[in-house]
């Protein structure tokens, strides 16, 4: 971690049908952290990262990626959406989905060639999915689908990785594999932001954490702020870190 700010969110308010789901959120994510966003269901976690990615438009506030708006920086950001957000029956293979990660650097009209294919295969190997490259994606298990998504983000060679519940519906082995890759990304200086719902594993997997429930409750290093007070403020009931373990 260094002093540079990777993502800066200022006074962000997002509403669906005029009902605010994120309210005046301020957040600075330092470069090089591996950060969890935690909060109850419907807290606006997915909405927050969609706003960072310019997928939903805020009614107030600004977001900067390395000091500039997303539109200028999109090549530096890779996104792993929630698994349910795509149609897994789509006629395409694992390799093809990973190749889509290279489309951003290609721009309009240009088609992926040998270089892109090589990078896609390397990414598949990294997530342990090389042997499944020609499988139709609906023939993959939940964990394998998530690995393909991760590989797709890896080929983007971004500086910031944003993921929405990557451990949802995956087996224990895949979870370990994904965590290892996330830690590797951080080691190489990348910033990783993960929406996470398993509070138990926060201290083990992450070094930075943001508590969110419509408003931002707290953000900082896991060591400093992952405590009973913030858990209770976020989840409403009396939460104890000790009970989680």
């Amino acid at each position: 971690m260094n002093d540079k700010i990777a993502i800066k969110v200022d006074d962000l308010t997002v509403a669906y049908n005029f009902k605010p789901v994120l309210w005046d959120v301020d957040l600075s994510i330092p470069e090089g952290v591996l950060m969890a966003i935690v909060g109850p269901n419907g807290a606006g976690k997915s909405t927050l990262i969609k706003a960072m990615l310019d997928i939903v438009k805020p009614i107030a506030g600004t977001i900067e990626i390395f000091g500039e708006p997303y539109k200028k920086q999109y090549k530096k950001v890779a996104y792993v959406p929630q698994k349910g957000s795509v149609d897994w029956d789509f006629p395409t293979t694992a390799l093809d989905v990973v190749l889509m990660g290279t489309y951003g650097s290609l721009g309009w009209i240009k088609r992926p060639g040998k270089t892109q294919k090589k990078r896609a295969l390397e990414a598949l190997e990294k997530v342990g999915m090389l042997e499944f490259r020609s499988r139709q994606i609906s023939q993959l298990s939940g964990g394998q689908q998530q690995r393909v998504f991760l590989a797709r983000a890896l080929v983007q060679e971004a500086s910031i990785y944003i993921m929405d519940e990557p451990f949802q519906g995956v087996d224990a082995t895949t979870e370990k594999a994904i965590v290892n890759i996330l830690k590797e990304l951080r080691k190489s200086g990348k910033t990783v932001v993960v929406v996470h719902h398993d509070l138990q594993t926060v201290p083990e997997y992450f070094d930075w954490v943001t508590f969110l429930n419509v408003k931002k409750i707290a953000t900082g290093s896991v060591k400093d702020i992952f405590n009973d007070d913030n858990l209770t403020k976020t989840y409403g009931i009396n939460y104890k870190v000790s009970v989680l373990q």
């Binding site: 049908n17 969609k50 990615l53 310019d54 997928i55 999109y74 090549k75 950001v77 996104y79 959406p81 957000s85 795509v86 149609d87 789509f90 006629p91 395409t92 293979t93 989905v97 889509m100 489309y103 951003g104 290609l106 721009g107 309009w108 009209i109 088609r111 992926p112 139709q136 609906s138 298990s141 939940g142 964990g143 797709r152 451990f167 949802q168 519906g169 995956v170 087996d171 224990a172």
Partner: protein, 386 residues
Amino acid sequence: MTSAQIEIQLIACIVAVACAIPGTFLVLRRMAMISDAISHSILPGIVVGFFLTEDLNSPWLILLAAFSGIITVVLVEYIQKTGLVKEDTAIGLVFPSMFSIGVILIAKNAGDVHLDVDAVLLGELAFAPFDRLIINGMDVGPKSLWVIGTILLLTLTLLITFFKELKISTFDTQLAATLGFSPVIIHYGLMTVASVTTVGAFDAVGAILVVALMIAPPAMAYLLIKDLKRMLVLSAVFGIIGALLGYWVAHWLDASIAGSITTVLGVLFFFIYLLAPNSGLISVLYRQRRQKVEVHLLTFLLHLQNHTEKSERHINHLYEHINWHKVKAQSVLDLALKNNMITIEDSIISLTEKGETFTSEAINYIITNKSAAIEEMKDRFFLFRG
């Protein structure tokens, strides 16, 4: 075959391919209904265009009518965004309104317009060869062949140029947006192509056949193929098969060509829907039945593992205790026996070593992977099927 017959078949095949391309993406985007909406709501555009140009094949008329197709799409999406009604309701609200505006326009001007609703809906392929394109006194073929041929060429060019963009925005709109591709532009581009194709084809084949050709062939290909490029090719092939077969059925029965092509497509779809190897109805039912037996097998093995006392493991007791029909119990027993998971001695069932390991591992797996899909476990353990 006479040259008119050849020309009719050629037109039908070209329309089929031109429809299959946008149709494939409509089917993948679960937007089949919108093609129905477009096909009906282009009517006011056609009528107004006809007043202005007096020529059903004029490019102006095609653009004007296509524009009313786009208006339909915009209206449907606008109504849907209000959150008051669902998409299909929105479609149901918009296209009858557009269509009836068209009908009223025709009725009001029936005296001086040679255009009727039947012709728009059903078309008459048999007449297509009579309307010739004459350039400098030379007959270069039926007009509709030129119109739809041009549209096919444009569609193909767009498909090849923007294949990557179409694919990514259809599969994962959010990723497309975050990578700097504008899904909105691609969406309206696709809707424009669908509208232009519908308008270009309606004169020859009618609006209903256009919808059938846009949806049925891609829907069939979707059941059979798991690769986008091949799905496009197969859709075109199915469209051509439907067009040719339909033509000869009509010839043989002396029936409407458009009607008979639509029927052939319907019959083809029915068979593929039943018989497709992985996604067909029969194969889905078969798989569900097998999965049910597998879950029962696991329940049964677990019961054996939990109860060491002999009385609990007697065959008759099992029939009663687990509360299964004899038939079901028998098929589970058979599966377990076939996989060497149990042995039966004097009507007492015991787990074999393999059965023990399997059961423990399966339970362990379910417990340690609470959130993992059950599919995952089946991948590992039910490979012994057979």
